[in-house]
């Protein structure tokens, strides 16, 4: 199944203990699309400015990502600067320039209307909801959000959550959304808001998926996938979006959605996140091979597998 990914395309300035990078291609939709492209066909919808060149677009095209949904607007592309000098697990934002992203009204090209899997990258929940409603062939919607929308657009977010099948957020976002400090209880409260499944990303500790009772016909027991203990994290930017890309990409590559597929998808999410952090920006995600990915999947499996 083809995946339609919608979200930010950006240029990032990044500082980590391993070094610095400026004006590197980033954004949720970029990381997601590259990661998912190793599993299935990916179509992307986003907006860029005049500083986004054919060379930038080729990064996606080389991975066979369909870029017809990228809108070229007047002005500059979304820019973000952040650093992880004190803490690799949390970015300290230096600046955010929304630029053309500020007035982004996603246009879905007609050629994308038959998409069956949708990923709603972090964005205003009203925009996320509008995109979902516009697409009638969608069988599965994954989505992300963040603290900012939980606080400032809570009512709109609640509406959009009813349209999302699998929500993917981190521990802090889940606790804030549920107003509950115990994670499994927070998960149950979030599931009661609409999603059938909730993936909580724990950063270096992996991720857990919680299910609403009866969701996908596979029972409600949670499942947990590890993250790889990585000695050399060069740049954590995009790890969560790459996780989402691996997770949704693997699901999109399978005919049926069952518990085993979702479990493997969670592992593939971790795999793609682990590759993303090995180099600055999207560099590592541009040049992988499926055998490399599957070899690392086996490493992840061994990491928690009992005979």
């Amino acid at each position: 199944m083809s995946i339609l990914a919608i979200g930010s395309i950006a240029f990032d300035n990044i500082a980590t203990p391993s070094g610095r990078a400026e004006n590197v291609l980033g954004g949720a939709a970029t990381y997601f699309s590259l990661a998912a492209s190793y599993f299935t066909d990916v179509r992307v919808v986003g907006v860029v400015g005049e500083d986004f060149t054919a060379e930038h677009e080729n990064v996606l095209k080389k991975r066979a990502v369909d870029t017809r949904g990228i809108e070229h607007a007047k002005g500059k592309t979304f820019r973000w600067g952040g650093q992880y000098l004190d803490n690799l697990n949390e970015a300290k934002t230096d600046f955010t320039e929304l630029n053309v992203f500020e007035n982004f009204h996603p246009q879905i090209p007609p050629e994308y209307k038959d998409s069956e899997v949708l990923f709603l990258g972090n964005n205003h929940p009203s925009l996320q909801g509008a995109v979902r409603r516009e697409l009638s062939a969608i069988k599965l919607t994954g989505g992300d959000t963040m603290n900012y929308w939980i606080r400032s657009a809570n009512a709109e977010l609640r509406k959009t959550l009813r349209l999302i099948n699998i929500l993917m957020i981190n521990d802090g976002e889940a606790k804030m959304l549920a107003n509950e400090s115990n994670l499994p209880r927070a998960a149950q409260k979030v599931l009661a808001m609409g999603p059938q499944a909730l993936v909580i990303k724990h950063g270096e500790y992996g991720a857990t998926i919680f299910f609403r009772e009866g969701a996908f016909g596979i029972g409600k027991h949670p499942f947990r996938a590890p993250a790889l203990p990585i000695e050399e994290v060069k740049d954590p930017t995009g790890a969560g979006d790459s996780f989402a890309g691996g997770f949704m990409g693997y699901i999109g590559s399978q005919e049926n959605l069952n518990r085993e597929v979702i479990k493997r998808a969670l592992f593939y999410g971790g795999v793609m996140g682990s590759f993303a952090v090995e180099q600055f920006g999207t560099e590592r995600l541009q040049s992988l091979t499926r055998p490399e990915i599957d070899a690392r999947f086996q490493v992840f499996r061994e990491l928690t597998h009992l005979e």
Copy 2:
């Protein structure tokens, strides 16, 4: 193999969002011994005061823990008070009264001298080292320490680490000991200080074991076990010591130490930690059955197991 556990025996005052408990039996040696008692013979060395009654000792005796190594001293038993009202993952200490524990000089009863597995509960590293040197039949030593000793007795701790085969500490302790914020790199630095293996306890995210190259003849790839997402954590006190008890207890119950045994031990550690937090103090650890424990082991296995 019999396990000799040495460490604190205490009375705790605990406040959590689920309620309060006062003067409940606690201490690292108590939690460890009860948890390990479901797997193998356990002998305990510790010190108590005149407020420690036969009824308290019976909690251990009922689990067939050999209590001949408990020294009864004049004065009061070690007392600790803490709360988890804001954060279930970290205790806020209200008071610590060392009492008889302050001048504790562990005496090993002659009947214990043939012990083959040793657990050195958190204590001054010089005392831990002295105990280890006194015992000649030991095949495997597990040990714990804490930030206080890392700061105030670092040189002594470094000596003792050379006597410990498997060190069990949490993320913060590992990072402080290694002076390194990246966890896998911190693990490598700690392993270079002496231990053949390092278990890093991640609280609600489980635990990872790292191996020195060639340790136990089983290669150096880390292994990670999950923790159970628990909606009702009544009292986190003793979870880490119960983890250590399950981990060392299972190892003590096996004839050979190989990778599969260590992996299962890490899961059993998580299992015993998950039981410990279900009730205040040691209550839940007093009344378990091995079938209950093995059923939960299967739940842990299912939590991360791919077909």
